[in-house]
């Protein structure tokens, strides 16, 4: 399953709820304000990094760039464009949107 999260973890619990429900082997894509969760060294980074041993985390590059955090993204988070976003939805069997 592909989980998509568009909320900053500093504002809403969407990412936290998503991580606690994400089956091992699933993928999480951070987009819109969700990309703020990808910032290196933030208060949330450790939580996300520990989840990354079981799930793959992606961030939508256009949203990362728009928010000026391209050089702050946690190592191991894969950047994708909209093309990659579409590909992820096609590869995984269903999409769960954490609004």
């Amino acid at each position: 399953m592909l989980h998509i999260v568009n909320k900053s973890p500093f504002d809403k619990n969407s990412l936290e709820s998503c991580l606690s429900c994400a089956q091992d082997g699933s993928a999480v894509l951070l987009y819109e304000d969700g990309v703020y969760g990808a910032i290196k060294g933030s208060a949330y980074a450790e939580r996300l990094q520990s989840a990354m041993s079981n799930i793959t985390v992606y961030a939508l590059e256009p949203d990362v760039k728009a928010r000026g955090i391209a050089d702050k993204v946690i190592d191991g988070i894969k950047l994708v464009d909209y093309n990659g976003f579409v590909e992820l939805t096609a590869e995984k069997e269903a999409v769960n949107s954490w609004l």
């Binding site: 568009n6 976003f85 590909e87 609004l99």
Partner: protein, 130 residues
Amino acid sequence: MKYTIQINEGPYTHQASDSAYNFTKAALEKGYEIFRIFFYHDGVNNATRLTTPPQDDRNVITRWSELAAAHDLDLVVCVAAAQRRGIADADESARNGKDADNLAPGFRISGLGQLIEGGIIADRLVVFGD
């Protein structure tokens, strides 16, 4: 791969419609089919042709209308959500005794069953919202 896209937020306030637009364009470029785009909640506000953004900004509404014309997209606006928020085509407007309509080209108004049908028929449902 066949998609139904659901958009739950209006234009300009939230990025949902922009994200959905960029996603849809990318999917079409890959040759995937967009079975339907369903506008729900405040998402119905993406369908008013009265929107007049400043000249240096994108026009979210005409962008959808143009994409629909170019790719024969089915843009469906939920009737119940639209009635609550004052989005109407000429028929809806007349039926409800209103003096104006505002539905933009390329959109049509229909029921929630269209969303469920979209979920059944498409391979993927992707929800954009807040």
